[in-house]
C-alpha cells in the first residue's frame, strides 16, 4: 500500500507510504472515491497528512514521469485526476493539516499546499525542482504558491528550483508553523483535536464553508451567508436545549 489510512477519535491520518523518499506513484496519489468514502464512513472531523519515516514526499519519480509522458492522452488524464484530487482536498469541509518533515518536493509540495494548514519540523526542506528538468509544477502548485507568497517570491522560488529550509518557508508563508523535530506529529494531532473535539460536525462544516466562501463570493455576500448559517445553528442550539441535552 502506497498510502496508509488510520482513524483516531474522528481524526483521519493519511500517510504517504513509499519510503525512504515517499515518491508518488501517480498524480492521483490516492483514489478519490476511497478517500470520500473513508471520510463519510468514519464521520471524520479533521485529517492529518504526513509521510512514513523521515520525509513527507519527494514528489514524482522522474523515470515514472517520463514513462507516463510517452502516452500524451494518458498523461493528461492522470494529471487531471491528480488536480481533481488536490482540489477536493483544498475545498474539503473539514480541516486538513499537513505535517511536514524532511523533504517536501514537487508533487509532494503541491499536496502540502492543497492542505489548509501546514506545520513543519525544523529539518523540513521545500522545493519545486521541476525547472531543473525543463519542467514546471503541474498540479496547481504555481497558483497555490502565488496565493501564499508574493508574486516575486513565488516566481523566484519556482524559476530558481532551489531548496529552501523551514525558516525561509515560514517567511514566504508556505508553512504556518515550525516545531521541533520529534514533536511534529503530536503537535499537529493535538492542534487538530483542539479544533474539532466537542464541536458538532455541522459547526465544523459551516466554518469551513464560510472560509471557502471568502474565495468564491464577494465579501458582503459571504458575510450574509455567514448570518444565514449562524441562524440555523442558533436554531439547533435552541432545539437541543429544549430537549434538555
Amino acid at each position: 500500500m502506497n498510502i496508509l489510512f488510520d482513524v483516531t477519535d474522528n481524526i483521519g491520518i493519511i500517510k504517504i507510504n513509499n519510503p525512504p523518499g515517499n515518491f508518488l506513484v501517480k498524480p492521483e496519489f490516492m483514489p478519490i472515491d476511497e478517500l470520500k468514502n473513508w471520510i463519510d464512513a468514519n464521520h471524520l472531523k479533521g485529517i492529518l497528512v504526513g509521510g512514513t519515516g523521515r520525509h513527507f514526499s519527494g514528489g514524482a519519480k522522474l523515470d515514472d514521469l517520463y514513462a507516463l509522458a510517452k502516452d500524451t492522452g494518458k498523461m493528461h488524464e492522470e494529471m487531471d485526476r491528480g488536480k481533481i484530487l488536490l482540489n477536493y482536498i483544498k475545498t474539503l469541509n473539514i480541516p486538513v493539516i499537513a505535517a511536514i518533515q524532511g523533504s517536501c518536493f514537487g508533487g509532494g509540495l503541491e499536496i502540502a499546499l492543497a492542505c489548509h494548514i501546514r506545520i513543519c519540523s525544523e529539518n523540513a526542506l521545500f522545493a519545486f525542482p521541476e525547472i531543473n528538468q525543463q519542467l514546471m509544477p503541474g498540479l496547481g502548485g504555481i497558483g497555490a504558491m502565488k496565493e501564499k507568497s508574493s508574486f516575486h517570491e513565488a516566481m523566484a522560488f519556482i524559476l530558481g528550483g532551489d531548496m529552501i529550509n523551514a525558516e525561509e518557508a515560514l517567511c514566504m508563508k508556505i508553512v504556518d508553523q515550525i516545531v521541533p523535530y520529534g514533536e511534529l506529529f503530536n503537535h499537529s494531532f493535538t492542534l487538530l483535536k483542539k479544533m474539532t473535539s466537542g464541536r458538532e460536525l455541522k459547526v465544523i462544516h459551516y466554518v469551513m464553508k464560510a472560509l471557502h466562501n471568502t474565495n468564491s463570493l464577494s465579501k458582503e455576500d459571504a458575510m450574509k451567508e455567514d448570518t444565514v448559517m449562524f441562524c440555523e445553528l442558533a436554531k439547533d442550539v435552541v432545539e437541543r436545549r429544549k430537549k434538555g441535552e
Partner: protein, 228 residues
C-alpha cells in the same frame, strides 16, 4: 454634542465621534444595544461635522460580545417581514446589524477601535470593521462562538481571513480560544499596542494626525508614519 442611549454613549467633540459601549462591567451587546447601534449609525451618516470615529468600551473592557441567550431567544421566531429562506427575527436583526457594522468599514472617515480588556465574539467582529485596531498588550481577544455550537455570524470569518489569512482564521475560529493583544499584533489582527491607560488617548491622537485628507487606502502609510 452628546447622544446618550441606554447602552451606548456618543459624544462628538471637535470632529471626533466617541462611541462608547456602555453597559459596564462587561458592556455585553444586548438586543437593545444592536437596536441602538442601528439608530446611532443612521444619525452618524447625517453628521456633516463628524471627521473620525473612535469605538471603545466603558470601564475595563471593550465588550464581552453578544448576549447569547437574548439572541437565541429569537432563533426560532419566524420573521413577519418579506424575508426569504425561512427567515427568523434573529436573521432580520443580524442582517440589519451587518449593515450597521458595514457602515464603519465603508465610511471614508477614519474609524478606530481602542481595545482594552475583553473583546470577544461580536465585539471583535465590530472591531474588525474598523479601519484601525489599537489595543493594550494584555487585551483578551477571541471568537469563541464554535465552543457554543455557533459560528461568528456578523462578518468575523471573512474579516479574520482577510487580515490574518485563511489558515490562521481556521485555527482561531475552530479552536475558539482567546489570545492576547500582543498575539493579535503578530497575526495582523490589530495594528498597534499601547499601554493600557493610553489606548484611548493614543487612538484620539492618531485620529487627529490622519484626519486631514484621510484616505483609507493609505492605511499602511499612516501606520508607518505613526511608528516613526
Amino acid at each position: 454634542m452628546q447622544l446618550i442611549y441606554n447602552t451606548i454613549k456618543f459624544t462628538l467633540d471637535d470632529g471626533i465621534g466617541h462611541l462608547v459601549l456602555s453597559q459596564p462591567p462587561s458592556n455585553a451587546m444586548t438586543l437593545e444595544f444592536f437596536l441602538e447601534l442601528g439608530i446611532l449609525v443612521g444619525k452618524m451618516q447625517e453628521m456633516q461635522s463628524l471627521k473620525a470615529i473612535i469605538i471603545s468600551g466603558e470601564g475595563r473592557h471593550f465588550s464581552s460580545g453578544a448576549a447569547l441567550n437574548e439572541l437565541l431567544g429569537l432563533a426560532d421566531i419566524p420573521s413577519k417581514g418579506e424575508n426569504q429562506r425561512n427567515g427568523t427575527v434573529l436573521m432580520d436583526l443580524l442582517n440589519r446589524n451587518l449593515d450597521a457594522f458595514l457602515f464603519f468599514e465603508q465610511t471614508e472617515i477614519p474609524v478606530i477601535s481602542a481595545i482594552r480588556g475583553a473583546c470577544l465574539g461580536s465585539a471583535f467582529e465590530l472591531a474588525i470593521f474598523s479601519h484601525f485596531r489599537f489595543c493594550s498588550e494584555d487585551a483578551v481577544i477571541g471568537l469563541p462562538e464554535t465552543t457554543f455550537g455557533l459560528i461568528p455570524g456578523i462578518g468575523g470569518i471573512s474579516g479574520v481571513a482577510a487580515l490574518a489569512g485563511k489558515s490562521i482564521a481556521m485555527e482561531l475560529i475552530l479552536r475558539g480560544n482567546t489570545f492576547t493583544g500582543l498575539e493579535a499584533l503578530k497575526m495582523n489582527l490589530v495594528d498597534g499596542i499601547f499601554p493600557k491607560k493610553q489606548v484611548v488617548a493614543s487612538s484620539i491622537e492618531f485620529a487627529r494626525s490622519i484626519i486631514r485628507n484621510y484616505n483609507k487606502r493609505k492605511k499602511n502609510l499612516y501606520l508607518q508614519r505613526m511608528i516613526k
